[in-house]
């Protein structure tokens, strides 16, 4: 079965600190995605990738960087965390077709104090 894992599952960070959220997939999917989920906003796309070495900006990329060093791994980096980045972050992987399902990880709860 498709598997997407995220680490850490919970994180408390300080304002101005650096935070790295990691995602690993064993589906051999080319595409990977980072979303954040906030009450009243559903899921919003931050960054995505078409394969190792590629990253693309999503709808809300400001304040975030992404890194895709391999097919399996996709990281989201907050260089200078702010309280407004407190949220639940989801990673997903999927095929390249419009009809392909995206498979989601369990999420990371980030609290920036």
């Amino acid at each position: 079965e498709a598997a997407v894992t995220q680490s850490p599952r919970n994180k408390v960070a300080v304002t101005g600190g650096k935070v790295t959220l990691s995602c690993n997939q064993t589906n051999n999917h080319n595409n990977m995605y980072w979303y954040r989920q906030d009450t009243g906003h559903g899921l919003r796309l931050i960054h995505y990738s078409y394969g190792a070495g590629s990253t693309e900006k999503g709808d809300i990329p400001d304040g975030y960087k992404a890194s895709r060093p391999s097919q399996e791994n996709f990281s989201l980096i907050l260089e200078l965390a702010t309280p407004s980045q407190t949220s639940v972050y989801f990673c997903a992987s999927g095929g390249q077709g419009g009809q392909d399902t995206q498979y989601f990880g369990p999420g990371t709860r980030l609290l920036v104090l």
Binding site: L43, Y50, F90, A92, G98, G105, G107
Partner: protein, 114 residues
Amino acid sequence: AQSVTQPDARVTVSEGASLQLRCKYSYSATPYLFWYVQYPRQGLQLLLKYYSGDPVVQGVNSFEAEFSKSNSSFHLQKASVHWSDSAVYFCALSRENSNNRIFFGDGTQLVVKP
């Protein structure tokens, strides 16, 4: 441009009752449409999807949805809900040649009362 609207933020039904969660989309061509479910403190899981053919799509756990091009809708239905169906349900849209970008609605919280 494309968008997905779920007009009901929260729906409450009694166990055993029927259910309809509404989804309207905006897109000039025929879209790919999905329903995902999110149980508490979990990621999203696919319930069902439509991309061609029969407009009534069967999904997991006895859910089904009907695509209507004339109404730009993709409503989710279930004949008899169980308390374990309590979750957040997301309608989503993708396009051909979109490289699998998915656009999500804001979700509907389903509460099933015993």
